[in-house]
């Protein structure tokens, strides 16, 4: 039985990074480095994502056709790959956000009474 829990935990982590990427791209197309920076900046640098792990995640999202990749030129006139949310990705973002909220509420409800007992 232990195997199932383990697998779900991994999925949860992967899913979280995916969700963050989708949310970040909601503001418009970005290149990889900019996405990493944005996540770092917006989470008050709490979420120290290993920047490299962004790339497998990006490709996973491309494969699921939630985001698309295009060649473009960046602000300082350099060639870069830009990632953009697809319409399918937008729907997915709404679904995932809803799920995340539910999960967060549920976990919070479980955790709070536990703190009271200990206190």
């Amino acid at each position: 039985m232990s195997t199932k829990e383990q697998r779900e935990r991994i999925e949860l982590l992967q899913g979280t990074l995916d969700l963050l990427i989708l949310r970040t791209l909601q503001r418009g197309p970005m290149h990889g480095h900019a996405i990493a920076k944005a996540i770092e900046f917006r989470s008050d640098e709490v979420l120290q994502v290993e920047q490299g792990s962004l790339y497998p995640a990006l490709h996973r999202l491309i494969k699921r056709r939630w985001i698309s990749a295009e060649e473009g030129t960046s602000e300082n006139n350099r060639r870069a790959k830009f990632y953009a949310l697809t319409s399918k990705g937008k729907q997915q973002l709404a679904v995932e956000t809803g799920k995340w909220d539910k999960l967060a509420r549920a976990i919070a409800q479980i955790l709070r009474p536990g703190e009271q007992e200990e206190a």
Partner: protein, 879 residues
């Protein structure tokens, strides 16, 4: 470029860009370039791993897992070589015989004609329906065409680059140093051009050969080598076929034997038909089916277009037809050796039964391998349990186990196919060499091609899943606790369900085996009947000579003169007792029939008939039970006929048949002068055919059989008869055989089928008894402790034996009953195909089950004895 490739193309560049930006950011923040670079790298993580993980997103995981499974499977199989070899052998046997028989059928019915670009060739056939009474003459093929119809299709179609017509199987006497009968083809003059079959020496036909009715011929390579000793100057010489001299214009390529399954020895222009078959004019008969049609399609033309285009022509021909309204439907398909609907109608049911029987043997082999795998699975419990508890998913595990069984089945299939390819060519040669002498050789190519390879592959895959799925599903559903604890005896439910599964496997094995054995039993009984049947006439000591003098160029007057002298000379030979003449020799596959009107009855009755001389009855020992025999003075013009007893009973039940009349459709009347005892002279095994005899006369001399009863050795008499014929006309072809040989032709198919099914049945029985043996010895070894406890509690060896036998025989008996019931249901199919078969033959239906049960019992007793010798102390301590 695939999406996967496109996405991965610039990955390295992307990562480099990312690192540069990060470095730049760090420099902007005031770091030294070196520090900035290493900080960026630190933050990015392991570049190689990131690349690998990204690649993995796009990689085809299942393919890699498959490779993993295959590697692991090979290792596992190699670790238990005994079991692997046993399983592979069983599968090789099962798949091998199936692939072998399929390659024979493939050679017969699926393989395209052996000519260049054969895929463009279509065989065109027609099915004609008449409204009301309509007549059509048929020669060789009911689905074939008349010459005028061929010309219509040839000249008015828009879909073929060329349309060929030919009449196969023309018997011709080739006169050279001696006389020999060969089979040849009359073909339209575009034959060689449309087939792209240019003779290896000389030339093929050109249009002017047909237009000016030139007597030219192309001979086959076999004939050239066999008959003319590879004479390098044969082209240009003349050869005589059926009394007409032909100039040899070409020698066909070796390997080209024509477009029919029986090889053709020569090809002559279609317009020479009357010279080849003297006295018969087929070309001008618009209402005769005698020409097979092959068309080469224009590039890009679809089958639909061909159908539509030819149907228009068929419609025009129907409209032009005078008499009852005629509608023609066309059957068009890829040209093979058996492409007419008529031929396929005969071949397909036989082929299906044969394939089904062979598939049943494979099924039994599969059950055996499944048994083996189940038995091994119990040994592998610990391994499987370990993998399950380490987190392997059940689906993944099933896939792994299935990969193993597919590896086994593919290895077995490959081995079996190789053996089949090698051996079936030889087996076919062996079988064809044992056929009776007037079975023509078949040009069947049993060498494997894409069809056969595809069949072998599909069969192997199917086999792997068939025997692998059940053990895999069962093995992966384990009680982890007891398995990990090493409780290998598995008391309780697990043991029960395992044994149940084994029982079902063995039970179905026995059922399938029962079906095969019963079928074999029925066929063997049929063979026995065929061998021992009393045909109702004395066939021993009778020689027959078939003489088609008309075809050999005789006119009726000369034919009668020849016959007269020939019969006189035979009569005077030493050892000859009696000589008779008949239109058809008994059981010669040569018979005539017609519709007759019985006065007082509304419908017409079909009656088969024969023209015989008076001595026919006494020579064959058929008594005239009422009335009288013919007198030598009676001719075709006389009104007297002799009917058989059963015919008289059917037509005039309860009345005296003598003096009764039968009327031909034309109105001519005959009256019964005698009644002969029933004899199976036309069809062996059929007594319900109406049969009557007419007197023979001069009109029969152009084509008839001479029957000779002799009292000395056959060889001497045959030589005397041949010499007598030659002394009258050295150019006449005389073939003397024994009357019994005709019976061989009737018996040969049942003998071949019986031998085949007997072999299949024994194979099934062998596999099946191995299955029973395996099941019992497995369950004995699993329940050693069980038996030990029983014995410790006072059970004796006999009681243990009874228990083991009872447990083992239950599935066997149930399976055998189901099998017998199944076979009783399908035996009607067999009956329709073979002569002399009883549907519910009691001897077969009692003998075979008893035999099977006896074999199963022996297979049970062997491991059962082991159970009897279990030492309770050892059994209990070994846990």
């Amino acid at each position: 470029m695939t999406r996967r490739k496109r996405m991965l193309a610039n990955l390295e560049q992307d990562i480099r860009d990312h690192l540069e930006r990060e470095t730049q950011d760090n420099i902007d923040r005031g770091m030294s370039p070196d520090d900035a670079r290493s900080a960026a790298l630190r933050k990015f993580g392991n570049v190689a791993r990131v690349k690998e993980e990204t690649w993995e997103v796009w990689s085809i995981v299942w393919l890699e897992q498959l490779l993993q499974d295959v590697r692991f499977g090979v290792r596992t199989l190699l670790r238990s070589p005994g079991l692997t070899v046993a399983a592979i052998m069983a599968i090789a046997l099962g798949v091998g015989i199936n692939v072998g028989i399929f390659s024979v059928l493939n050679g017969l019915a699926l393989r395209l004609l052996p000519v260049p670009r054969a895929q463009e060739l279509l065989s065109v056939n027609q099915i004609i329906h008449f409204q009301g009474r309509g007549d059509r003459y048929i020669h060789n093929g009911a689905n074939w065409f008349s010459y005028s119809e061929y010309q219509d299709y040839r000249d008015h179609n828009h879909v073929f680059t060329g349309l060929v017509a030919y009449e196969p199987y023309i018997e011709a006497n080739l006169r050279d140093t001696d006389v020999r009968q060969v089979l040849g083809t009359a073909a339209s003059c575009n034959y060689f051009d449309v087939l792209i079959e240019h003779p290896s020496q000389g030339r093929g036909f050109v249009d002017s050969d047909c237009e000016s009715r030139r007597a030219v011929v192309v001979v086959s390579n076999d004939l050239w080598r066999g008959k003319f000793g590879s004479d390098p100057s044969l082209v240009g010489k003349k050869i005589v076929l059926n009394q007409t001299a032909y100039t040899v214009i070409g020698i066909a390529r070796p390997g080209f034997t024509g477009t029919e399954p029986i090889p053709s020895a020569f090809w002559a222009p279609l317009t020479m038909q009357q010279a080849l078959e003297p006295g018969i004019d087929r070309l001008s008969n618009d209402n005769m089916s005698w020409l097979a049609l092959l068309g080469r399609t224009r590039p890009g033309v679809t089958m639909e277009e061909v159908r539509a285009d030819l149907s228009v022509i068929a419609g025009r021909i129907d409209q032009r037809h005078s008499g009852p309204r005629r509608t023609t439907s066309l059957a068009i398909q890829a040209a093979t050796f058996f492409s007419s609907p008529e031929e396929r109608g005969h071949l397909i049911p036989v082929a299906s039964v044969v394939l089904a029987a062979f598939a049943l043997v494979l099924l039994i082999a599969c059950a055996n391998v499944a048994n083996l795998l189940l038995a091994r699975a119990s040994v592998r419990h610990r391994e499987i349990a370990l993998r399950l508890s380490m987190g392997a998913g059940r689906g993944r595990l099933v896939r792994q186990l299935l990969t193993e069984s597919l590896l086994l089945s593919l290895a077995g299939g490959a081995l079996g196919s190789l053996i089949a390819f090698w051996s079936f060519i030889r087996i076919t040669q062996l079988v064809t060499s044992y056929l009776p002498h007037d079975f023509p050789p078949l040009a069947v190519n049993v060498a494997p091609n894409l069809h056969v390879l595809a069949y072998a592959l599909l069969l192997s895959l199917f086999t792997g899943i068939a025997f692998g799925l059940v053990p895999a599903l069962r093995t992966s559903r384990l009680d982890l606790n007891s398995a990990m604890k090493g409780d290998s005896t598995q008391f309780g439910t697990a043991k029960k369900s395992g044994h149940f599964l084994l029982s079902i496997l063995v039970g179905s094995q026995v059922a399938v085996c029962m079906v095969l054995l019963l079928a074999a039993g029925l066929l063997l009984r049929g063979l026995y009947t065929a061998q021992t049947i009393d045909p109702g006439f004395e066939m021993k000591g009778v020689a027959t000579i078939f003489l088609d003098l008309g075809k050999q160029g005789y006119d009726p007057v000369h034919a009668t003169a020849f016959m007269q002298r020939f019969r006189e000379r035979i009569q005077s030979l030493p050892g000859v007792v009696e000589v008779a003449q008949a239109e058809c020799a008994p059981l010669s596959h040569d018979f005539s029939g017609s519709e007759f009107v019985v006065p007082g009855r509304a419908d017409t009755v079909g009656v088969e008939y024969n023209h015989v001389t008076p001595d026919y009855f006494s020579l064959l020992g058929i008594p005239i039970v009422r009335g009288r025999d013919f007198s030598p003075a009676e001719t075709h013009a006389s009104p007297g006929i002799i009917v058989t007893e059963s015919t008289a009973r059917r037509l005039w039940p309860g009345q005296d048949p003598l003096g009764k009349t039968l009327r031909e459709i034309s109105g001519r009347e005959y009256s019964v002068i005698g009644v002969a005892k029933d004899a199976q002279v036309a069809h062996l095994g059929q007594l319900d055919t109406n049969y009557l005899y007419f007197p023979a006369d001069k009109g029969d001399d152009s084509r008839s059989y001479i029957l000779v009863r002799y009292s000395t050795g056959f060889a001497d008499v045959a030589k005397g008869i041949r010499d007598a014929g030659r002394s009258i006309d050295p150019g006449v072809s005389i073939d003397v055989i024994q009357l019994e040989d005709y019976l061989e032709v009737w018996r040969a198919p049942s003998r071949i089928v019986a031998a085949l099914s007997g072999a299949l049945g024994s194979l099934a029985l062998l596999l099946c008894s191995i299955g029973v043996y395996g099941m019992v010895s497995y369950s004995v070894s699993r329940s050693v402790r069980d038996i030990g406890i029983r014995m410790a509690l006072g059970a004796d060896g006999a009681q243990v034996m009874r228990l083991v036998v009872w447990q083992a025989m239950r599935p066997v008996v149930i399976g055998a009953t189901i099998g017998a019931a199944l076979c009783a249901a399908v035996s009607g199919v067999l009956r329709s195909m073979m002569f002399g078969l009883g549907t519910h033959d009691p001897i077969a239906f009692i003998g075979m089950p008893v035999f099977l049960l006896a074999v199963a019992l022996v297979a049970t007793l062997l491991p059962g004895r082991r159970a009897m010798r279990v030492d309770p102390m050892v059994a209990l301590r070994c846990e």
